[in-house]
């Protein structure tokens, strides 16, 4: 059992006009086997939450804490966090020219597992994981994210997830830019990972659409840098029919 605990997290980004606070006191716990959907309007800071957990250098944590099984995540480097068991499936995966998917996956698996996987079993493991995501084996020879379609990028993210087997997965708008077929394949790939590993999940999304494929246990409404309401899957249905307007108004009133 693992648990990611986020407590009163405040974070800022540096702008031309000085630091701007984006996260304003986020408190949330994600434990193994549970799936938390964080939903919010554009600009609410929900993707920033994902990047701050992963350790992107652009953001400065000004208050609060993040721990994974009691270990201080904020004191870890980006790669240490990944090796500790955190994984961020990115909304905009970065191109790395000249580095093949095969090399990239093996290098990261070696880093996360602490030893190089045996070549024979590794090739089978990679092929199996790719077939779940309906990826052509030739994909492994392409350069990381270079010339990938939106759907290919997201499949590639879930492929990494299934090979690196983190304790806690963070999916940042994995559904954005996907057509229905691609969304189904990516969701099935994710569900296979979750069923196999029992990992905890933080699913960040703007739309309720993905929740038809990936069932959440908890839904949190994220507005203006913090969670303004939490509930069960029924909260997603409310958002589906009413949108974020009520919550945006509530946040403004509070502030």
């Amino acid at each position: 059992m693992s648990i990611l605990v986020i407590d009163d997290l405040h974070a800022s980004v540096t702008t031309d006009t000085g630091p701007r606070e984006i996260l304003r006191g986020v408190t949330l716990s994600v434990d193994s086997g549970s799936t938390h959907a964080v939903m919010g309007p554009n600009g609410s800071g929900k993707s920033t939450l994902a990047y701050v957990i992963a350790g992107h250098p652009k953001y400065v944590v000004t208050q609060g804490s993040i721990t994974l099984d009691g270990q201080d995540v904020l004191s870890m480097s980006v790669d240490e966090r990944a090796r500790a068991g955190l994984f961020l499936a990115m909304q905009y995966p970065v191109e790395v020219p000249g580095v093949s998917v095969a090399n990239f996956l093996r290098t990261s698996a070696t880093a996360v597992r602490g030893e190089a996987p045996k070549l024979r079993t590794w090739i089978k493991e990679m092929k199996d994981a790719m077939s779940v995501l309906q990826m052509d084996p030739a994909f492994a020879e392409r350069n990381v994210n270079e010339g990938f379609s939106g759907g290919e990028k997201k499949r590639h993210e879930i492929l990494q997830l299934s090979l690196l087997k983190p304790k806690i997965a963070i999916l940042d708008e994995t559904d954005s830019g996907l057509d229905v077929d691609a969304l189904r394949v990516v969701s099935e790939g994710f569900n296979a990972f979750r069923d196999e590993t029992g990992a905890g999940t933080l699913l960040i999304t703007h739309y309720t659409r993905i929740l038809r494929y990936i069932a959440p246990d908890f839904v949190h409404v994220f507005v203006d840098g913090r969670i303004v309401e939490s509930g069960g899957p029924e909260l997603a249905a409310v958002l589906e029919s009413e949108g974020y307007e009520r919550f945006v108004g509530a946040s403004a009133t509070q502030a």
């Binding site: 970065v94 790395v96 020219p97 580095v99 990239f104 880093a111 045996k118 990494q160």
Partner: protein, 384 residues
């Protein structure tokens, strides 16, 4: 002295001569010397009576020949150091592949200098419709100056690698001229990772229509190295193509790389297809890269003509992405730099030499062998 005519261009050399006295002594203000540390090249601006000679072990296609007997005899030096080296060389290293001969294995020319400062001339001729791969390994244990002259007969195919690898202590000044026959194909790769001060000046000319030239370069500088690559592609025949791609990565206080790419498309060169590109990756704040592409068109009747140049810093988003997958920063950086070079190195003719160059670049980047093995996907089970 030959004063090059027909019609004058800013990009073409003005003088071609075997006699050093025909060249004015450069002072560093001249366009073609303006980046070069003149104190390092000064010893090459006067004839050194004590200078040694560059030679190579003879083989099936390699021999040492009197300079007058070389194949590319119409070539003349185009700057003072090459004229001095040429006038001080009596024996040329010659690689000769007879017409219609196909040589699959790389012909390796391992240059050796006989003194701390050595002059030399390398002559490579691939006869009509012949095909060959040549690897020229420079001697970085000596200071050297000289010329490489490559001639391709009609329909010939030559893939050639010039590699400068070794300690960052020596000065090397080289001209490398290639003359391409009708419908012949040339792929020339320049790898410069050693030397304290290096000036490598590749030039290409066409002896008939339909020829194609690719010039690919990879250079890696650190700890104050000065690496200059100055390219001149002279299109004066119709329907020829040229593609120039040079990539450099550099780090360290005082490290300086220079890339100048001059492409001239003369009036007669209708239907020319030409592109040149230089990309530089600055790994820290101490290094400096100059990149100057020049394209001069004397005819508008070309198939395509373009150039691109970009010098950028290391992309921190790439680093974040790789680190977010557990890869430590040091290895992530090495992956990115290696990846940056892959497309130019992929064209190195032989598997063995490609692997060797990649390995050396990895070593220069501080990658240890276990990481290297990991990256190339080989381990103890690879053979099974």
């Amino acid at each position: 002295m030959t004063v090059l005519t027909a019609p004058p261009s800013d990009l073409a050399p003005r003088v071609a001569s075997a006699r050093p006295e025909d060249f004015p002594r450069p002072h560093g203000r001249e366009e073609e010397w303006r980046f070069t540390p003149m104190d390092a090249v000064a010893p090459f601006l006067d004839r050194d009576p004590a200078a040694g000679a560059l030679s190579a072990e003879p083989g099936t296609y390699v021999s040492m020949v009197p300079i007058a007997d070389r194949a590319g005899a119409s070539w003349l030096p185009t700057d003072l150091p090459s004229a001095i080296a040429f006038s001080g060389t009596t024996t040329a290293v010659q690689v000769a592949v007879p017409a219609e001969q196909v040589v699959e294995d790389p012909i390796v020319v391992d240059l050796r200098g006989s003194a701390g400062r050595s002059y030399g001339h390398v002559d490579v001729h691939v006869g009509a419709h012949a095909r060959a791969v040549v690897v020229l390994v420079h001697d970085l244990t000596v200071d050297a100056s000289g010329s490489i002259v490559t001639t391709l007969g009609d329909g010939a195919e030559l893939t050639m690698l010039s590699i400068m690898d070794g300690p960052a202590e020596r000065t090397h000044l080289w001209n490398w001229h290639t003359e391409i026959g009708r419908d012949a194909r040339f792929v020339g790769s320049v790898v410069t990772i050693g030397g304290r001060v290096v000036r490598m000046l590749p030039s290409v000319g066409f002896a008939g229509p339909g020829g194609s030239a690719e010039l690919l370069g990879a250079f890696l500088g650190d700890h104050g190295q000065y690496l200059e690559h100055r390219i001149f592609v002279d299109h004066d025949q119709p329907h020829c193509s040229s593609n120039v791609v040079f990539k450099g990565a550099l780090a360290g206080e005082g490290t300086h790389t220079v890339w100048v790419g001059d492409v001239l498309v003369r009036r007669a060169a209708i239907g020319t297809d030409t592109y040149e590109m230089n990309r530089n990756l600055l790994l820290d704040d101490g290094a400096r890269a100059d990149s100057v592409p020049n394209l001069e068109l004397e005819t508008g009747d070309v198939a395509s003509a373009g150039h691109a140049s970009a010098t950028g810093r290391f992309d921190d988003e790439q680093l974040f992405y790789l680190q977010a997958r557990g890869i430590p920063e040091r290895i992530a950086r090495q992956l990115v730099v290696r990846g940056f070079f892959v497309d130019v190195l992929a064209r190195i003719p032989s598997e063995q030499w490609r692997t060797r160059v990649l390995h050396r670049i990895a070593q220069r980047l501080g990658m240890d062998d276990s990481i290297e093995a990991e990256l190339s996907g080989t381990d103890e089970e690879a053979g099974s």
